[in-house]
Amino acid sequence: MSKHPMQFVPTADFKERARGALDDDKLRKSFRGAMDFLQAKRRNQFSDEHERESLRDLGSAIRKYALARLPDLLEELESKLTRNGIQVHWAENAEEANAIVLDIMRRNQARRMIKGKSMASEEIELNHYLAEHGMECIESDMGEYIVQLAGEKPSHIVMPAIHKNKADVAKLFEENIPDTPYTEDVDELIQTGRRALRRHFMEADVGLSGVNFAVAETGTLWLIENEGNGRLSTTVPPVHVAIMGMEKVVAKLEHVVPLVSLLTRSATGQAVTTYFNLISSPRRSGELDGPREVHLVLLDNGRSQAYADEQLRSTLQCIRCGACMNHCPVYGRIGGHAYGTTYPGPIGKILSPHLLGLDEAGDLPFASTLCGACSEVCPVRIPIPDLLIRLRNEAKRNPNETVATPLRGQGAKHSAAERVVWQFWSGAFKSPKAWKALRWGATRLRAFTPGAQAGWTQHRTPLKPASRSLHDMLKDRDQPE
């Protein structure tokens, strides 16, 4: 196994998987339908352009402020959580985070875990790790439960089973849940899922969840959901473990107010979700329910690399709404699995190189038309196309070049031949004499242009220099150049 046993498919096969996805009509239809639906719902929520833009300004300022003070805020968060009775753990990478969770389970003689939705736990492949150590892990978010039954991974960070239609789910439930007849009635399917999971909530020894925002000022974990599985997972089992990327902290409770509005409206086009679950402490004396232990795992796992560079730091402003993928012409056509990473779509393209290295995720920054739809909808104004270009440059950079903030896998896409072509090109542009010679040569030797021009001629006619340059034609007409 590779150094990343956690990764379920090598990202290196991105191009092949993308081709496969493009040929899959059913998948294309599922994603087209979902994208249209989510785009329309978001649009309805932001009908007042002035309000939308000023709220995005505020959201962006709040996230920038939090990142500028990140080490201070993490220490403040830790001290407030500890004061409240929540135990804080720090994990530099996936292995450490997994070991912390396993250790908590073992200390509590736990065997069964019920999980609310957590992308951070997907990122560290927690289920896989715990299963290897004899623990049972059940996903309880309906979408996550569906992909777990199917032995798959989420294809969207907000709607994990977005690639499946109701017939897929009907078949899956019929085959995997006892006494379940085939039905495409969505209400019935959801009730089946509810019944199947109910026992697991009751019997679980540990509940695991993600975190949407952590408030340093009060020591509060703010969780957002619609189903109630997040509340059940964090309330019913005797132990609750939350895991979050370390960038998700904000300074003040009031800072979450505009951020939740941006998040739910951008993500699913809802003014609010059914539940906001603000956890500040385990069960206190005199209380009749709630977990007796609450833990928070703070995860770095490559985030500090993005943090080190002033431009790339803006990647960490993300509040994980998924609007960038919902509006991305590439994601909408190839879906989430083709990326082969936990976070697909535009945010995945700018985040995965830090989590996995450019050697693993180097194709992703190139899988973009740079149309800018992502940054146009981003609620916290992450300049995604700028970051894509930057990451392309880092992937193409000479691996031996020394830079101030080197990225893991620098130069993974470096090509000496390509470098020579660019050097030739820029040399020709810099000197009028060289340019003139090139023009003269290109117009005379055009017959020798090859007919097959790598990727270009796959769907297009070959490029061929014109017989006369624009420069020459203008000269004939006696026009100034």
């Binding site: 300022a61 080490p71 220490e75 720090w90 209400d187 959801i190 009751m202 309330t235 009031e254 329910d289």
Partner: protein, 222 residues
């Protein structure tokens, strides 16, 4: 070096020397037109109704009777109520056939019973947010976290005086930052999901039905 020390030192090594000014969230929400209580009641009713909740505007004298009627009509046989004066008033209004108890014991002692035998939970919301149709519960010794979550029917009483216009006003007016309970829950409708082909379905894992009684001076007597 511990993971903590290593993570913090990496961040400290490259954190900007000066942070930008603290964003002015209060300034952003300041100067919005004030609303009347009647407007807030109407907005709360409309938003909750849009989120698939049943909403009843009732009088202070009549709410218990109205809740009792609804529970009877829903065929509720076993209700668990939040302890306190409103719960006691409701208990007095209920027909004898309807078993209504307080949460009473630690959940661990009767988990299966709560999950399998209780038809409805009754709670009193601490306050509400009109703009999004949201009911706020401050969980603590008298407000168990699971009471608003596990039974399939959730009945909530909210005093019209306690409705704020927006989330910002509620958080500010109630000084949440200074007195966070162990668990603060905002709920805005029955549990739902659209995880199967973007089709909305209710009763995913929490209550499938949410019935809200807004008690105010102008409310109808039962």
């Amino acid at each position: 070096m511990s993971a903590r020390a290593s993570m913090l030192s990496k961040l400290r090594a490259c954190a900007p020397a000066t942070a930008p000014d603290m964003p002015d969230v209060a300034g952003y929400y300041a100067g919005r037109p004030a609303s009347t209580q009647a407007e807030r009641v109407e907005r709360l009713r409309a938003e909750l109704t849009a989120s698939h909740a049943d909403v009843h505007v009732v009088s202070h004298a009549g709410w218990a009777g109205a809740v009792a009627q609804l529970l009877h009509a829903q065929g509720v046989r076993r209700l668990v109520r939040q302890s306190g004066a409103p719960g006691d008033s409701l208990a007095r209004a209920l027909p004898p056939a309807l078993q209504a108890s307080e949460f009473g014991r630690p959940l661990d002692e009767w988990k299966a019973e709560l999950f399998e035998q209780v038809d409805a939970g009754f709670t009193v919301a601490d306050c509400a947010i009109a703009a999004t149709g949201t009911l706020v519960h401050l969980c603590g010794p008298h407000m168990p976290r699971t009471l608003s979550l596990v039974p399939p029917l959730h009945v909530v009483l909210i005093d019209a005086e306690r409705i704020y216009a927006t989330l910002f006003e509620a958080a500010d007016g109630e000084r949440w930052a200074a007195r966070m309970p162990s668990n603060l829950v905002m709920l805005s409708g029955p549990s739902k999901t659209a995880d199967i082909q973007q089709t909305l379905a209710y009763g995913a894992h929490g209550p499938a039905r949410l019935c809200v009684f807004i008690a105010c001076e102008q409310g109808e007597a039962a």
